[in-house]
């Protein structure tokens, strides 16, 4: 990440942080150097100087001891001897003090600085010599105590002298060592001081320079884009919207510059857009103006046209009314046509049972005549008392006419007539049911029964040719115009029978749910192509020959189902048959 792209606050923070860190660094460095100097001075004060003092004192005291010992050896006077012993005791006390002081110093030293090897070696050498010197002194004291002055003096002048000079030598060396250390320490301290002075001075100078450079750099980064923005803003204020500024950084000023550019851009676009819109408006205004003038011209001719249209309207209304009456006439004629068709069927239908009856009438008449003759013969035979001849004649006649068989025949003939009468009655009832089509009031009726009565009327067309498969569901009676519904069933069933050319079957299925009932009438006749199926509910559309159908049957049926708030749909496939499905609400209201 470039510093250039940092936020302004971060840049400032970074700058001041940098200056602060530099200052802090200089301070830390100064304190460290000062500590080093202090260490040198501490060493000087606490180590080298007191050590040197202790060793120098030790040197003097050992010399004192040596001198006293020598004097002691040469003195014969007891008093002087005693004085010398006292002096020696105090000297030894002093030596012991010196040694203790020195030991303490050296213990401290461990904390400040490692004991120097040279110093250590020198002092160790001194200690060894000092021990030997003391051992020799013990012997010398013991010898002089035993009044062996000669031996004592020899020892003092010989071996002891050598050891003493060694002691003196070592102490001198230690002293010069301390002197060197002190001089070196002072020199060192001075060097450190000088170096520190230079370093701190140069560090301060560098820090100041870097800070100045940084601040200048910061000013450049901040001031330059702000000036640029200022200039740009002035230009925009002067109406120049084409100003686009260079984005030199990604900080707040960079964002500001970017926003400025976006602003001028959108301003420019808005201006252009409004100009275009103004042009468009102007054009539209002109068009409108022209149109208005044209309209004004046209309104006069419109006035004329209006009266013409009103006239035409009146004519249209007249035609409509005419059409309406024609339509009702047509519906009536369709009714009549289907009735006519029906009548032929019914006549044929009734003919059969009537044939039963009429065919039975003549044999019955004949049989009745035979029975009458037989009756007369028996009456004659029993009229004037029982005439045996006539009775046997009558019995013979009875045998001739096979009277037993005769009764059987009469019985069977009566049964035939009865059946014919019953069938006729059924047909009449069916016709009556069917003919409820003229009733205009809503009634509660069972659709299954309606279908049955319709089938009854069609029996003549159906029999021998078509098998009827009924699958009636448990459906409740519904609110309907029963006669009109029967007309619908009649239409569909009639068409179904027409669709079946040789033999076939018609399946009638009814079922229902909570609110509706459904009727499906399906035949396996010739079916319809799609273009026919689409048009079957159109008025005057028919596939039958002229004079065969009005083309209004299904159209009227469609109207009736609509009146019942139901639907009628048809599925059909050529050569496979058609299925009409009617859905009717249970409650019409």
């Amino acid at each position: 990440m470039k510093i250039k792209n940092l936020k302004l606050s971060r840049k400032l923070f970074l700058g001041f942080g940098f200056v602060l860190i530099m200052m802090f660094g200089v301070n830390i460095f100064s304190i460290r150097q000062m500590n080093r100097l202090k260490l040198e001075i501490d060493n000087f004060n606490n180590q080298w100087l007191p050590s040197a003092l202790a060793i120098s004192s030790l040197n003097l005291n050992t010399a004192d001891l040596r001198r006293s010992q020598l004097q002691y050896a040469f003195t014969l006077d007891d008093e002087t001897k005693q004085e010398l012993v006292t002096s020696m005791i105090s000297t030894i006390d002093n030596i012991n003090d010196n040694l203790d002081t020195y030991a303490k110093l050296k213990q401290q030293k461990g904390e400040i600085q490692e004991l120097l090897e040279e110093e250590k070696d020198l002092f160790k050498g001194f200690e060894t010599d000092w021990e030997t010197y003391q051992d020799l002194s013990f012997t010398i004291f013991r010898l002089s105590r035993e009044d062996k002055q000669k031996e004592a003096y020899d020892l003092l002048d010989g071996q002891t002298k050598v050891i003493y000079s060694s002691i003196n030598d070592k102490l001198q060396k230690l002293l010069s060592f301390y002197k060197n250390e002190v001089i070196e320490g002072a020199k060192n301290a001075d060097l450190v001081f000088q170096a520190t002075k230079k370093l701190i001075t140069s560090l301060v100078v560098i820090t100041i320079l870097l800070s100045i450079i940084f601040v200048l750099w910061l000013i450049r980064w901040i001031r330059h884009p702000i000036r640029q923005l200022e200039k740009g803003a002035k230009k925009v204020a002067g109406g120049d919207l084409s100003v686009q500024l260079d984005i030199t950084s990604e900080d707040e000023i960079g964002n500001l510059t970017n926003s400025f550019n976006l602003m001028t851009k959108s301003l420019r676009e808005a201006m252009e857009k409004s100009k275009v819109q103004a042009d468009r408006l102007k054009m539209q205004w002109e068009v409108l103006n022209e149109t208005y003038l044209e309209l004004e011209l046209k309104s006069d001719s419109l006035e004329k046209q209006k009266s013409t249209i009103e006239k035409k309207n009146r004519e249209l209304r007249k035609t409509m009314e005419k059409l309406k009456s024609t339509q009702s006439q047509l519906i009536e004629s369709e009714k009549m046509a289907s009735l006519g068709q029906l009548t032929a069927g019914i006549a044929h239908e009734i003919n059969n049972p009537i044939n039963y009856i009429s065919a039975g009438i003549n044999p019955l008449k004949r049989d009745m005549m035979d029975i009458e003759s037989l009756y007369l013969k028996y009456k004659e035979a029993s009229n004037n008392g029982l005439d045996q001849n006539k009775l046997s004649d009558a019995i013979k006649f009875s045998d001739d006419i096979e009277s037993d068989f005769l009764f059987e025949e009469i019985k069977s003939l009566l049964e035939g007539i009865e059946e014919g009468a019953l069938r006729t009655r059924e047909i009449v009832i069916g016709l009556r049911n069917f003919s409820r089509m003229d009733e205009d009031a809503i009634k509660v009726a069972n659709v299954n029964e309606g279908i049955d009565s319709t089938l009854m009327l069609l029996r003549n067309k159906i029999k021998n040719k078509i098998t009827i498969n009924k699958e009636y569901g448990q459906i409740p009676p519904i609110d309907c115009y029963p006669g009109k519904l029967n007309q619908v069933f009649m239409n569909i069933l009639n068409n179904a029978t027409d669709a079946i050319k040789d033999v076939g079957e018609i399946s009638i299925r009814t079922w229902g749910n909570d609110n509706h009932i459904f009727i499906s009438i399906k035949d396996n006749g010739i079916g319809m192509p799609e273009n026919v199926r689409k048009r079957i509910f159109e008025p005057f559309f028919t596939t039958k020959d002229v004079g065969q159908g009005t083309g209004l049957g299904l159209s009227i049926s469609f109207g009736i189902i609509e009146k019942h708030k139901g639907t009628i749909t048809v599925k059909s496939k050529k050569n496979e048959g058609s299925e009409f499905i009617i859905q009717l609400p249970i409650n019409l209201s």
Binding site: I89, D93, N96, W130, E131, Q134, D135, F138, F141
Partner: protein, 141 residues
């Protein structure tokens, strides 16, 4: 962790009650059986010259500068040369001679066996039944 604690404890014990390189021994006639550092210093600096029973305290030193001797003076807390300065003062004051320096530890052992009221130091390995080893105890303060 346990091992570290154990090791540290052992080191502390060795440093504190340590000085196992040297055994302080006394003649069987000596009545004490344990000794403090300051007590030993009192004897060796000749500030105390008699046992509690009035018997004089007889001290020995080693001539040879071996590890045992070094350990002994380290335990006392003063160097041998520094101890000798004390003895020198006492000698000049007429308060007694320095301890007799002996040639070896064997000689020290023999001397202590034969000298009643004597006290000295040898290598702990050399301690026998004929002398009384004095148990070193820490100073109370």
């Amino acid at each position: 962790m346990k091992y570290i604690i154990k090791t540290v404890l052992i080191i502390i014990l060795l440093c504190g009650s340590g000085y196992s390189q040297v055994a302080i021994i006394a003649n069987k006639s000596v009545t004490i059986d344990k000794i403090e550092k300051s007590q030993l210093m009192d004897y060796y600096s000749r500030d105390l010259k008699f046992w509690d029973n009035g018997e004089p305290i007889i001290l020995f030193d080693l001539k040879i500068k071996n590890q045992v001797r070094e350990a002994f003076y380290k335990f006392l807390g003063k160097s041998s040369s520094r101890m000798k300065s004390i003895w020198m003062k006492k000698m000049l004051l007429g308060e007694g001679d320095p301890p007799e320096p002996l040639e070896s530890e064997e000689a020290m052992l023999k001397k202590i066996i034969t000298t009643p009221g004597s006290i000295g130091f040898i290598n702990p390995d050399m301690v026998t039944d004929e002398v009384k080893p004095l148990k070193i105890i820490e100073d109370e303060n």
